[in-house]
Amino acid sequence: MIRIKQIHKSYVTGQNSLHVLKGIDLDIAAGEMVSIMGASGSGKSTLLNILGILDDYDSGEYHLNGLLVNRLSERKAAQLRNRMVGFVFQSFNLVSFKNAMENVALPLYYQNVPRKKRNLIAMEYLERMGLAEWAHHLPNELSGGQKQRVAIARALIGNPKVILADEPTGALDSKTSLEVMDLLQEINATGITLIIVTHEHDIALRTKKTIRITDGNITEIIMNN
């Protein structure tokens, strides 16, 4: 599903150039559930953003589902994201003026699904998340766990091949974190590839494979049983 070879990425700010990813090689098969761990600033989010085509890389090769992703036009990238990738962020990233249902339905808007139909589908997903009665609430009326479940529903609705989650439980208490992890595991069980960036060991332990990044390099790949 995901194949990257010798990915390099530097951030250039003014005169300084910060070499963040220093030749990453990684293969993730379809249906895998993988966690990425590493110290703060080691480049985890940078890697995940490249995988989600939210950012470019400087050199190397990235194949997503067999397709070479390199310097795509924004339009192409947008279409690929829409069809292939779902995102779950630490800070939820819900559109503040849209209610839960509309937030969930948004990816379908960009697939030209008619409004009635996409709201109907969004309701189904919210039901699956146990949030049916919150459908018409705005994000700021929801708890952190509820918001994250809305975000997960939104990531799922477009039928993505891969879900990328950057510290999905980072803003949640431990009980809610476990609930969210249960959800993610269920999702993985349906065959969707899942990549989770996390700082927490017990979260990482619930994935099949943990990739450790140290200072821009993959230093360790641990199989969890």
């Binding site: 939210l54 279409q79 995102f87 990233n93 990816p107 960009y110 030209n112 939104r154």
Partner: protein
């Protein structure tokens, strides 16, 4: 289907961001509103003052006698000048140029009756030419003629208001009837309408000046001489006035420059003065109007830039969910265009509404009447503001749509 969906998406964003919508729309609505009120007031002012010049030819000159105010040839100041028929004849025969000329006598309000109906009306003895000078419209019959003058006929031409107040009930026909003016019977030979908006002008009675002098005065005194200058240029008209003044100053022994001895009112000159005044006012209104529009453009541009900045995060989210740059740009642009169009329309309606209200509720005064804005200008201004909003939104929207999603998402 997709298009309807887009409108719905825009509608829901607009509806849920009321303050932003209001701020964007307000500067446009305000600009258009101010422009219309401004243009309308200007037009009202101009219409009002133009009314003042209605009734009476625009090339008319009125010369009235007064009192001397400058010592001349040992004669004392304050000496009243009294025009007579001789002055009228002298100007008529020696000053070339005027196409109509008339003398007038001021007899003030007089009691006039027909059968049991009474009224007090302004009696205005004159020559037949005065009908032209005053540009009277004859509703019935005729104005005075030369035979009336030479035969001292007791005939009267009455205003429509005179007719309506004296001739009522069964006796609605005035023509050929005899009205009693100050105890003397005059035969009604015509009914006129004066174009002046002044009601008093419709309550006049014109009679032959010769008859009036004989019946009511017993002298050959006149109070005013008036003429029209035909097709003469302003300079030629001034020359006619100058010649008349010279003639009168010689006949009555007063200083040529004594503006109080004779009072000359040159309507053409007044009209010209007002024309240039209004050209100035119009220019002024345009400058302010353009300023208002520019302020509106700047306002819309600023708000659009702020709006795009404020929506960076949302744009990042949309992009992460698969929004193409074009869909982002068109969303922002269409939103801007819709808001500014509706706001412009509201400003248009409010502005026109205010003007209509003023026109209806406020009685037309001497200086203000029928305010009305040029609608096409207002529509043009609205289109201009909408375009400005679109352009102002376009560049920041393009920039926002072009940034990498990571960067947009990082925005707080």
């Amino acid at each position: 289907m997709f298009e309807i969906d887009k409108w719905q998406e825009i509608y829901s964003t607009v509806q849920k961001n009321k303050l932003r919508t209001f701020l964007t729309g307000f500067s446009v609505a305000w600009g258009i509103f101010m422009l219309i009120v401004l243009l309308g007031s200007g037009a009202g002012l101009e219409n009002g003052v133009k009314e003042q010049f209605k009734g009476g030819a625009t090339n008319g000159v009125w010369i009235s006698s007064g009192k001397t105010s400058i010592q001349y040839k040992g004669l004392k100041i304050g000496r009243p000048i009294r025009f007579t028929n001789e002055d009228y004849k002298a100007i008529k025969t020696t000053v070339s140029g005027p196409d109509h000329i008339s003398a007038r006598l001021f007899l003030g309000n007089n009691l006039v009756s027909y059968k049991n109906e009474y009224g007090s009306f302004f009696l205005s003895p004159c020559h037949p030419d005065y009908g032209f000078i005053k540009e009277l419209e004859m509703l019935q019959g005729r104005f005075l003629n030369n035979i009336d003058i030479s035969e001292f006929r007791k005939v009267a031409v009455i205003g429509e208001k005179v007719k309506s107040s004296l001739f009522k009930g069964h006796d609605t026909v005035a023509m050929g009837k005899y009205v009693k003016i100050n105890g003397v019977l005059f035969k009604v030979v015509g009914v006129f309408r004066d174009f002046s908006r002044n009601d008093d002008e419709q309550k006049r009675i014109y009679i032959p000046i010769s008859t009036a002098q004989r019946v009511f005065q017993g002298e050959n005194v006149i109070n005013q001489i008036s003429f029209t200058t035909g097709d003469a240029t302003a300079a030629d008209a001034d020359l006619m006035i100058k010649k008349s003044r010279a003639l009168l100053s010689q006949m009555h022994t007063f200083d040529f420059d004594d503006n109080r001895a004779v009072n000359i009112w040159n309507k053409n000159e007044e009209v010209r003065k007002f024309r240039s005044l209004f050209a100035g006012i119009r220019l002024f209104i345009w400058i302010i109007g353009i300023g208002t529009i520019v302020a509106g453009i700047v306002g819309v541009s600023n708000i659009m830039m702020i709006v795009v900045k404020e929506r960076t995060k949302e744009i990042g989210i949309r992009k992460s969910l698969g929004a193409t740059p074009w869909s982002i740009v068109s969303l922002i642009m269409q939103e801007a265009i819709i808001i500014t169009s509706i706001a412009g329309y509201i400003g248009l309606v409010l502005g026109v509404g205010i003007l209509e209200l003023v026109a209806k509720k406020m009685p037309p005064t001497q200086f203000f009447k029928n305010p009305g804005a040029d609608f096409s200008i207002a529509v043009m201004a609205t289109i201009l503001l909408v375009a400005a909003g679109a352009v102002a939104g376009f560049f920041p929207a393009m920039r926002a749509a072009g940034v990498k999603p990571v960067e947009a998402l990082r925005d707080e």
